[in-house]
C-alpha cells in the first residue's frame, strides 16, 4: 500500500431508532465532501434506505436485491466456482454503486437474514470491504439498535459515531453499542453526538451525565424536519441554514 493508498477512515453512525442518525450521516457526508480531494463512500445500512434522500442520490439497486437475484439464480441451477461467484457479485455491486463527483453511494436494503445462504452474505461483506479500500472515508448510516455491531462488516469500523437525543433511552442504547463495539479490532475512537436538543442548557445538563466522550451537538432544526418530510436533499453544509458543528466533528475524526 503506497502513501496515497492508506487505509480508509470508516465511520459508523449508530444509535437508537428515531434519533436522527440518517440526518447526521447526511450532514457528516456533506461536510466531508467539501474536500474535493477526498473520495467518500456512503453506505446506507438502514433498511428504509433513507440516506439517499438527504444526499440527493438515486438508488437503482440494493445489496439485498443483488443477494436475492443471486439466490434465485442458484436455485434455478445456475452455479459456478466460488471465484466466479465472487466476480459476479463484485460486478453487480459496482453496478449498484451510485457515483457523483467524489461521492459513491451503496444501499444495503434489508439486512442479511439467517439461513443457508451465509456464504453469499459472507462474500458480500468481503466485497464491501474490498470496495471500501478504494476510498479515503466511508460513512455507514447504521440501522437502529446494536444487532449490526455483531456483524462482521463492522470489524472494519475505525470511528464509532453514536447519535442520541436527550432521552435516557437514547443514551443507554449508545452506551450499550459502545460496550459491544469495544471488542472490534479496528476501532480507534468512539464518541456521542447529541441531536435534537432544546439548546445549550440542555447540552450542559447532558454533559454532566454523558457516559461517553462528546463529539458535539445540534439543536432541533425546522429545515431538516421540512426536508425530511418532503424527501428532499439537504443543502451543502456551510451555507448556514443547518448549523452543523464541523470543527468539533473534525476534531473527533482527527484525534
Amino acid at each position: 500500500m503506497t502513501a496515497n493508498e492508506k487505509a480508509p477512515v470508516i465511520i459508523a453512525v449508530c444509535g437508537k431508532g428515531g434519533v436522527g442518525k440518517t440526518s447526521i450521516s447526511a450532514l457528516l457526508t456533506r461536510m466531508l465532501l467539501k474536500d474535493s480531494t477526498k473520495r467518500i463512500l456512503a453506505i446506507d445500512a438502514d433498511p428504509a434506505i433513507g440516506l439517499s434522500y438527504p444526499l440527493g442520490v438515486p438508488v437503482h439497486k440494493t445489496v439485498d436485491e443483488i443477494r436475492n437475484d443471486f439466490i434465485a439464480d442458484v436455485e434455478k441451477g445456475m452455479t459456478g466456482s466460488k471465484e466466479e461467484l465472487i466476480r459476479r457479485l463484485d460486478y453487480e455491486m459496482l453496478d449498484a454503486m451510485t457515483e457523483t463527483e467524489n461521492l459513491a453511494f451503496l444501499a444495503i436494503g434489508r439486512p442479511e437474514g439467517d439461513g443457508c445462504y451465509c456464504q453469499v452474505n459472507s462474500l458480500l461483506r468481503d466485497i464491501i470491504k474490498a470496495i471500501a479500500r478504494n476510498f479515503d472515508i466511508v460513512v455507514i448510516d447504521g440501522e437502529a439498535g446494536v444487532e449490526q455491531i455483531d456483524r462482521r462488516v463492522m470489524d472494519m469500523v475505525t470511528h464509532l459515531f453514536l447519535v442520541s437525543d436527550a432521552s435516557a433511552r437514547g443514551r443507554n442504547v449508545a452506551a450499550t453499542i459502545d460496550r459491544v463495539a469495544q471488542n472490534k479490532p479496528g476501532l480507534k475512537k468512539t464518541g456521542i453526538f447529541f441531536n435534537r436538543l432544546q439548546g445549550a442548557e440542555e447540552m450542559d445538563a447532558l454533559t454532566a451525565q454523558a457516559p461517553l466522550s462528546i463529539i458535539g451537538w445540534m439543536a432541533e432544526n425546522a429545515l431538516i424536519r421540512e426536508l425530511d418530510r418532503d424527501g428532499k436533499p439537504f443543502p451543502d453544509v456551510g451555507d448556514g441554514r443547518i448549523p452543523f458543528p464541523e470543527e468539533a466533528v473534525y476534531r473527533f475524526l482527527k484525534q
Partner: protein, 251 residues
C-alpha cells in the same frame, strides 16, 4: 479437443465479412501483433476507476457486451499473438461509453474430457489478473458480460487495445498448456457486438452442460435441459460417459 471449432470458424467468418464490408470505410478492421513485454505500470491496491475519472467505458451494464473464450487443439485455427480490433481504438472512441465484444481464441495441448472443465475455469479467470494502471475490469462469466473502465489519464497516456490485448495474451501464455492465443476486440457498434451473440450463446450452452456434469453429477439425461447440446457434441457425450463411469465405480 475440437468442441468449439465451429464456433471459432463462425467467429472468423464474421470478422472476415466485417473486413470486407469495412474495407476503406470509417471503421477498419485492424490487426496488431502482441508485444513480448507490456510497458505499462500495474494498478495499485485501489482497483476501482471512478466514473468521474473515467475516459472511456466499455460494455457498461446498460450497454451491450459479449465476452467468451474458446479453445481448440487444432493449431491452424488460432493466429498466435494476433490482436484484432473491429471499431475505434480506446483513444479514438468519441462517446464516453461504448458496447464491447471480446473473443479469446486458444490453441492448447493436452485438453481432455477430464481436464478441460478445470482448464476453462483457469483460463477464464486469468483475465482478472491483468493489472494495468487506469484500467478496471469486472465480468460475469455466466452472462458472458465484461465491463471495463479506462481512466482519462490512461487514455491520455496511450492505453490502447494493443497494450490491453498484449497484457491479456501474456497472462494466458503463463499456462504451459496454451500454445497459441489470439484476441478479438469489437467496439464498432451495438449491432456488431450483437452479431457475436449466436456464437457466444452456443459456447455458453456447452459450458453450462459441462458445469452441470461436474458440479451436480446429475446424469438423468431425460430430465436435463442440456440433453440436446450433449447429443450434438460428441466430446460432451464422451465427457458425460467418463463421469458416469467414474461415479459408478465409486459407488
Amino acid at each position: 479437443m475440437q468442441l468449439f471449432n465451429t464456433i471459432i470458424s463462425d467467429t472468423r467468418q464474421l470478422i472476415a465479412d466485417w473486413s470486407d464490408q469495412q474495407a476503406g470505410g470509417p471503421l477498419p478492421v485492424r490487426k496488431f501483433e502482441a508485444a513480448d513485454h507490456v510497458h505499462w505500470p500495474a494498478a495499485g491496491n485501489r482497483d476501482i476507476v471512478f466514473q468521474s475519472d473515467t475516459g472511456v467505458e466499455l460494455g457498461n451494464p446498460k450497454d451491450k457486451s459479449v465476452a467468451f473464450l474458446a479453445w481448440t487443439d487444432d493449431a491452424g485455427q488460432v493466429h498466435d499473438n494476433r490482436i484484432t480490433l473491429v471499431g475505434p481504438d480506446i483513444g479514438e472512441i468519441a462517446e464516453s461509453s461504448v458496447p464491447f465484444g471480446k473473443v479469446v481464441l486458444i490453441h492448447g495441448s493436452g485438453f481432455t474430457e477430464d481436464n478441460c472443465y478445470e482448464r476453462f475455469r483457469e483460463m477464464d479467470l486469468c483475465r482478472f489478473d491483468v493489472s494495468l494502471k487506469g484500467y478496471m475490469m469486472r465480468a460475469v462469466s455466466q452472462y458472458m458480460r465484461e465491463w471495463s473502465r479506462i481512466s482519462r489519464e490512461a487514455v491520455k497516456n496511450g492505453l490502447n487495445f494493443e497494450v490491453l490485448g498484449s497484457a491479456m495474451l501474456r497472462k494466458l501464455k503463463e499456462y504451459d498448456y496454451i500454445k497459441a492465443a489470439e484476441i478479438i476486440f469489437v467496439t464498432a457498434s451495438p449491432d456488431h457486438v450483437r452479431q457475436l451473440g449466436p456464437m457466444a450463446d452456443r459456447f455458453m450452452q456447452y459450458i453450462n452442460a459441462m458445469t452441470k456434469m461436474h458440479q451436480e453429477m446429475d446424469f438423468d439425461c431425460d430430465s436435463c435441459e442440456y440433453q440436446n447440446v450433449c447429443d450434438e457434441a460428441e466430446e460432451l457425450r464422451s465427457m458425460r460417459e467418463k463421469l458416469m463411469d467414474k461415479k459408478e465405480s465409486s459407488e
